[in-house]
């Protein structure tokens, strides 16, 4: 992931040179809090009736309200409120009466030159997100706000200041966003990625967002600081913007933390500022300093009334919540006698219900997890829990070789069916023990010299000949013999031979 040494998830950073208050050899720790903006899956915009849809010809999903035309007024989208509450409850937040506020700043893609957001009274307060690793990340708030349009600056360096002209598409203006703010609880780039992945899975689970980072429906801003490991104080943070993928997030955090460590290690200070991540150069650059930061002049939005969700609505939404990724990990982990982290992959793939049912049908949990993890990365297809449990039972009875088992599994994924039927259809009848013994006797008779070497050779010689005879048996049975059975048979027969060897 990283192109420089010393940047791993749990690796220790050390300052290369002594700095003020940071002696040589100081171990540094990254401290990260994330602001995730998730576009909510509503049919229409947060305050007007235009479609909330990605793509479309520029300026076709618009109306007088989302364009902020004079005289228009916002009307809150009920569905957006319900989705916000769904996410809040999924995060264990407290859903409170809230008010909307105006965040005032000028930008051409913001039609009113203020954004309707929530400020000191957000709809969701507090909560937490448990990561697959078991780490619990605190949530500060998750509030509703409207998205802006999109600007394209043509000419110059592609910035608004030096562009020859700018094009604005207001299709996105007014799309409902939920801004989810974490506490600065994350300690590495890997952890930050794990947090975003888990948050995304939670948003998808409750149907609040499609979580497509590549389409911008999930966007991440990172607040990054560093401090000597063990320090209880937070360092000066920088906000990193324009992180458009999980990979970018990891790269940007590592770069930014290294930049700050280098500053501190050389006796300089970190200035509180907003920085822009450049995917091509792999660097962050100054967007604006704290002094240049906009005074947003928040004040209560007078065009909207306080949002006071009825307790009955909140309870209805709570009762309607699906099992969350965290709950599904714990459920499977408990059933399988494993840690939640161990079963995270299957939950992520949505194969936990299958695994759980197979375990409940009596299959060995370890075998169930192994099969799903190793062989079903592309999905379980038509495979049923009973089918998987039956397959594992056949394996354990020695009725299928591991190659056969894999083939049967693949066929069950493709077209379903019971493992015994599939095995039979494929001609995978396990060779019966008596039959196998006969085959071996015939081969011994055909290769007496080799058999002698197996029985009397040294350790190395014996191993080699065991391989030879196993191969011969497999060839004779067209691979249908069970490897373990053959080995046992060889062991048994060789012992008998040695005992009865003449003189």
């Amino acid at each position: 992931m990283s192109d420089r040494p010393g940047f791993g998830a749990d690796r220790v950073w050390q300052s290369g040179s002594p700095g003020l208050g940071a002696p040589a050899g100081t171990e540094w720790e990254m401290v990260v809090g994330l602001e995730v903006h998730a576009e909510l899956l509503t049919a229409t915009k947060l305050f007007s009736a235009s479609p909330n849809a990605f793509g479309g010809q520029p300026n076709t999903h618009i109306d007088p309200v989302c364009l902020g035309l004079p005289g228009t007024l916002p009307v809150l989208n009920r569905r957006a409120v319900e989705l916000a509450i769904r996410v809040g409850l999924a995060l264990g937040a407290e859903v409170r009466p809230s008010i909307f506020a105006r965040k005032n700043y000028y930008y051409p893609d913001m039609p009113k030159n203020y954004q309707i957001s929530q400020y000191d009274r957000p709809i969701n307060t507090g909560g937490s997100l448990e990561l697959p690793s078991g780490k619990v990340v605190g949530i500060v708030r998750a509030h509703l706000e409207e998205d802006t349009g999109k600007s394209t600056h043509v000419g110059g360096a592609g910035r608004i200041d030096d562009a020859a002209w700018s094009l604005v598409d207001y299709n996105r203006a007014g799309v409902p966003l939920l801004e989810i703010v974490s506490h600065p609880d994350l300690r590495s780039a890997a952890e930050a990625r794990e947090y975003v992945t888990e948050l995304r899975a939670t948003l998808l689970a409750v149907g609040a967002s499609d979580g497509k980072m590549e389409e911008g429906s999930l966007r991440v801003d990172a607040n990054v600081s560093v401090r000597p490991r063990g320090s209880a104080e937070l360092g000066t943070r920088c906000e990193v913007k324009n992180v458009n993928s999980l990979r970018s997030l990891g790269r940007a955090l590592e770069h930014e933390a290294r930049r700050q460590i280098d500053l501190l290690s050389s006796g300089q200070r970190v200035a509180q500022e907003t920085r822009h991540w450049n995917e091509d150069t792999g660097r962050t650059s100054l967007l604006r300093s704290k002094e240049e930061a906009t005074d947003y002049r928040y004040f209560p939005e007078p065009d909207l009334v306080p949002l006071v969700p009825e307790p009955a609505l909140i309870e209805r939404i709570r009762a309607d919540l699906p099992l969350l990724p965290r709950q599904r990990r714990h459920r499977l982990a408990a059933a399988a006698g494993q840690s939640p982290a161990r079963v995270a992959l299957l939950v992520e793939r949505g194969q936990d219900d299958l695994a759980l049912a197979a375990v409940e049908a009596g299959a060995t949990p370890e075998s169930v997890l192994k099969h799903l993890e190793q062989h079903l990365a592309d999905g379980a297809g038509a495979l049923t829990a009973a089918g998987l449990a039956g397959l594992i039972a056949m394996e354990q009875r020695g009725e299928l070789s591991s190659n056969q088992s894999k083939a049967v599994l693949a066929e069950m994924v493709r077209s379903g069916g019971s493992p015994s039927e599939v095995a039979q259809r494929a001609g995978f009848e396990a060779v019966a023990a008596g039959e196998l013994a006969g085959v071996l006797e015939r081969i011994i008779a055909e290769h007496p010299a080799e058999w002698q070497r197996l029985c009397t050779g040294d350790e190395r010689e014996r191993k080699k000949m065991q391989g030879f005879f196993t191969g011969q048996v497999m060839r004779a049975t067209k691979g249908q013999a069970n490897g373990r059975d053959v080995a046992a048979l060889l062991e048994d027969r060789a012992g008998t031979s040695a005992d009865s060897a003449p003189g």
């Binding site: 007088p64 035309l69 004079p70 005289g71 228009t72 916002p74 009307v75 030159n113 002049r297 928040y298």
Partner: protein
Amino acid sequence: MSFDGPAARIAAAVRAGERSATSAVAESLAAIDAAGELGAFNAVTADAALARAEAIDDAVAAGDDPGPLAGAPVALKDNICTSGAPTTCSSRILEGWTPPYDATVVRRLEAAGAVVVGKTNMDEFAMGSSTENSAFGPTRNPLDPERVPGGSSGGSAASVAGGLTPLALASDTGGSIRQPAALCGIVGMKPTYGRVSRYGLVAFASSLDQIGPMARTVGDAALLYSVIAGCDPLDSTSVPEPLGDLNGALAADVDGLRVGIVSELSGEGIDGDVLSRLDAAATALTGAGAYVGEVSVPAAVYGLSAYFLIAPAEASSNLARYDGVRYGLRVPAAGAVDMNVATRTAGFGDEVKRRIMLGTFVLSAGYYDAYYAKALQVRTLVVRDFAAAYERFDVLLAPTSPSVAFRFGERTADPLTMYLSDACTVASNLAGHPAVSVPFGSGADGLPVGVQVMAPAFGEDVMFRAAAALERLLADVPRPDGAAATAAAKP
């Protein structure tokens, strides 16, 4: 005798097939045309109005009822959006912009058979008390062309007072309906906040703005109010409370009605001639059987200060959208930011800039608590003190304007002098309560004086009851100057 007035009479005649809507509208258009020197109108929509009038006449001929305002010409303040005509707010910054939609009140007017004849002049973005802040030149007071009609709804007031239209709609953020109504000798009413949809009213200060009627009689004003009031799903702050029995209220007497004269609004800073008309109103009401007493609304003293923090704060945000990017004026410049600055510099007048700067300042970090938050606290106190007053009184009485109509230029040099014009009216906006200005004779130079009747939230019925009584009583009491009073009650 309820809902009586020139507009009600036109509607009754049109509905009865006794006169045509076309004749009423043509008459109004001719009057507007003849009174061009008043500067009351920014735009006259003659063709559309005549077409609409013909459609109403056709409806009547077909046996349909076009509604309670059938054929009544109405002028709209030019901050009320109309899809058929430009909406300028008397500002250069909106030059050339025609809204792609109608305000809810416009749709309600049309559903009631009213005919919009044009858009009236105003102080730019409703900021002012004299209509001298219009980018298109001032409006003259029809009673004395050397004097202002008041503001910000000076154009609508002049249209009604000058007999150009029997009705007009205007907006009231701190007195912009009531004060020009008083100065022009007509009836002007601000409804309870939320009664009338603000959808399509270009915002000045959203938590204070209300659209309301102007008319020559209390009955006409109540009629127009009853047509535009009602809950609107497009305005989240509109309310569903029923209007009450307005007809009954207009006809009722004031026997036993408790009327409180607000001490804080009836003394210092109010001209003697205005106070003497207030006294005359009190005396007349007492004579009609009302109980009239003095009442203190202590926080009203701070109302003006709070108003001039809250209104500019909201305005600074509401007017941020005029940036040259999407509509209206654009002054080209090297970059987007420079274009924003050049456009706003050229497009806004001085008073608008002053209030944007003031509002920006009071919302800024480090000043918010000292100014904006403090003003909101005062607003809460105003509501509390009014509530206490309404425990003892059904309606409150005060002057509408501290003076009669003043001369052009008299108050433009010092903005604070102009701001004092709103001293008696802003409290109702801060509280969100209804209030109406009723002409009650004349003061200095024979110019009309308005008396303001205030009522608690959703108390329009009792407010109209007192206002209608004052109107009736005016006919019975001696007047110092008959001419002005006659102008006020002109049919």
